[in-house]
Symmetry: C2
C-alpha cells in the first residue's frame, strides 16, 4: 500500500484537520469530534441539513458542507458508521430553531446510529426529518439498496431549498423526491485498501472487473472479463435507465463519478458513451459533469448516476453554494 | 494496465468528444481537430487566450476552457506536443480583433509548435503575445524549468483580466507576473502507464518514491525510501517556499494537486501539513484548495503550488468563470 499518510490510525483525524485548514472561510470542526460544521452554524431560522457515514469516500461528506448544502457532516472511521453521540452533537450544533433534516445513506450501521441520535434530539424538543438515500440499482431488493453517489444530488437540492427558507416538511419532501428519481450503478476495475489493514479488501484479477460494486467493495451484479469503456457504459446505462423507467423527452442530470483512483481521461472516455446513449434514447440532459465525488479509497472504477429532474429540482440545482467539492453546473 | 478505454489509439479523440458532450453549454470542438473552443468563440473585442500541450494531464487543458479563462485549448497526443497547424487554426478561430495570448508550458516540443504557429498568425496580421510557464522548482536551471500545475493560476488570472477588457500587453503582463510568482514541486508514489504502451514508463519499487517528478515522469531531485505525508509536505514546502523567497506576512494562494490516481483522503492529509507550515512561517493564505488539475495519467502522487499574490491577482482570482474544472475558490 502506497498512500500519503502519517499514521494509519489517524487518517480520519488528519484528513478532517486538512479539510478545515484548506477551507477556513467556510468550515470549522467541532473540537474533539469528527464533526465538520458550516462555519456560521447554527443558522437561525433555517432548516439544517446533516449527513455522515464512514470515511474512505472523500470528498464525501465534508466536501459538501457549506452554505447552500449541508450544515454539518459526521465522519466515522473508515467504512464505519459514526457513533450516535457524535450525530446528536452535530444536531445540537446546527439546529437553528426550524428543525434538522438527517440525510442518511441506506446502510444498517448508519441507520442505527442516526436513529439513536434522532431519539435523543427529539427528547430535547428538536424537530427532526429524515431522508434515506438508496440509489444503487445493483441491489435488486429496493429495501436493501445502498446509498451511493446520487446522495450529493439530494444534499444539493434539499440544501438549496433550505437556504431559500423552505420548511422542514418541504425540504424533506423535495429530498425524498430526489431520492425517488435518482439511480446509480458502479463498476470496479481494482479493489481498494483499508489504511489500517494494508492489503486489498477483495481480489480482482488483471483481466477482471466487477459490475455493480458497492462503495465498500460489496459484491456486485457480476464479475466478468475486462470490458471496453463503451461496453461498461452500456451495461450501467441499461440498468440505471430501465430502473428509472426513462422515456422519450424525460430530462435528467448526469453525474459520472470516479471511485478514487480514476484519472479524468478515463471518466471523459466513459462519459462520451453515456451521453451518446442518452442522446440516442432522446433523453434531454439538463446538466452533466464528471469528477470524483463519492469514492472508495484508492479503488479504480466509475459509477454513473441519473436524476430525473423536474422544474423545482432544476431551479435548486442552479442555486449558488459554497462547498469544497460540489461541482459547478455549467 | 486497467483503464476505461475502447481503443488505445483513440483515447485523445474520445476524451475530447466526451468533454464537449458533457459541457455543451460552454464548449465546442472544432471539427476534424483536437481543438476545444469556448462555445461562443471568437469573442469580438476581447483578447483571446490559448493553451495546449500533450494529453495525459486531464483535466488540463480542455477543462480550463470557457468564459473567464481560456478561449481554446489544443490537445496533442499523449505526452506529445500539438502540431503547429492545429495551434494556428485555434488562433484563427478565437481571434476577436484584439490579439491572442499564447500560454505555453516550458517544454521544447510545445515551444517549437507554438512558435511556428505564432509566425503564421503574425503573417496574417494577428497580434500575438506569449507567456511561458515554468513553475517546477525541481529543475535547478531556471531556463529549463518545466510548466506544471501552476499554469492554471496563470490561465485564471490572465483570463479574468482579458474578460474584463484588458489589452493584450496588460493581459500578457499579468500572466508574466503570475509566472514570476508561482512555484511548484511534485512527488510520485507510482509510475504511470501510456495507454498505447501498456506498461509503466519508469519503475518505482514498493518502498520508493521520487521527489521532484515531472508530469511526464521526468527524473526528479532524488529517489528515496517512502516517506510520511508530513515529511513529503515538508520537503516540497522547503524547496518551493525558498525558491519563492517567501517572507513573513507574504500572502499566497495554495494549490494541492493530485497526479491522477490520488484519492482526496491523501490530498487532505498532505494539505494539513502544508497549511500548518504556512501558518508556522506566518505566511498568509488568500485561498487554498485541493483536487486533481494537472495530472500524469494514472500516476499516484501529489504536487504543491504556491502563488505569491498581489491585490490585482486576488481580485482576478475571485472573478467568475465557466469552465469544467477550475475549482471554486471559497
Amino acid at each position: 500500500m502506497k498512500k500519503l499518510l502519517n499514521d494509519v490510525n489517524l487518517v480520519v483525524d488528519e484528513e478532517l484537520e486538512g479539510l478545515v485548514l484548506l477551507y477556513p472561510n467556510v468550515l470549522r470542526r467541532l473540537p474533539n469530534s469528527n464533526i465538520i460544521l458550516r462555519k456560521e452554524s447554527p443558522v437561525r431560522g433555517k432548516v439544517a441539513l446533516i449527513s455522515g457515514g464512514g470515511s474512505g469516500h472523500e470528498p464525501l461528506h465534508g466536501g459538501f458542507v457549506g452554505k447552500g448544502i449541508l450544515d454539518a457532516s459526521i465522519a466515522g472511521e473508515v467504512f464505519t458508521a459514526p457513533p450516535p453521540d457524535q450525530i446528536y452533537s452535530a444536531i445540537k450544533n446546527v439546529d437553528g430553531g426550524r428543525g434538522v433534516l438527517l440525510m442518511i445513506n441506506n446502510y444498517s450501521g448508519d441507520l442505527m446510529s442516526f436513529k439513536l441520535a434522532e431519539g435523543m434530539a427529539i427528547n430535547d424538543g428538536i424537530q427532526i426529518g429524515r431522508v434515506i438515500v438508496n440509489d444503487d440499482v445493483a441491489v435488486p431488493d429496493i429495501e436493501k439498496r445502498r446509498g451511493v453517489a446520487g446522495t450529493i444530488f439530494a444534499y444539493k437540492i434539499a440544501g438549496a431549498l433550505a437556504e431559500r427558507g423552505g420548511s422542514l416538511p418541504d425540504v424533506q419532501r423535495i429530498g425524498e423526491r430526489v431520492v425517488a428519481n435518482t439511480r446509480s450503478m458502479g463498476v470496479a476495475l481494482t479493489s481498494c485498501t483499508l489504511p489500517n489493514v494494508g492489503k486489498p479488501i477483495f481480489v480482482l484479477q488483471d483481466d477482471e472487473l466487477e459490475l455493480g460494486i458497492g462503495v465498500h467493495g460489496e459484491p456486485g451484479v457480476r464479475r466478468t472479463k475486462m470490458m471496453s469503456a463503451d461496453e461498461i457504459a452500456a451495461a450501467l446505462y441499461d440498468r440505471v435507465s430501465k430502473d428509472l423507467s426513462l422515456r422519450d423527452e424525460d430530462e435528467v442530470a448526469l453525474m459520472v463519478n470516479g471511485m478514487g483512483a480514476t484519472p479524468m481521461m478515463d471518466l471523459l472516455i466513459f462519459s462520451r458513451k453515456v451521453v451518446k446513449l442518452l442522446h440516442e434514447n432522446r433523453i434531454r440532459i439538463f446538466r452533466s459533469f464528471a469528477g470524483s465525488f463519492v469514492t472508495s479509497l484508492d479503488m479504480a472504477g466509475v459509477s454513473m448516476t441519473l436524476l430525473k429532474v423536474d422544474d423545482q429540482m432544476k431551479e435548486m440545482l442552479l442555486e449558488p453554494e459554497f462547498t469544497a467539492s460540489f461541482p459547478k453546473l455549467i
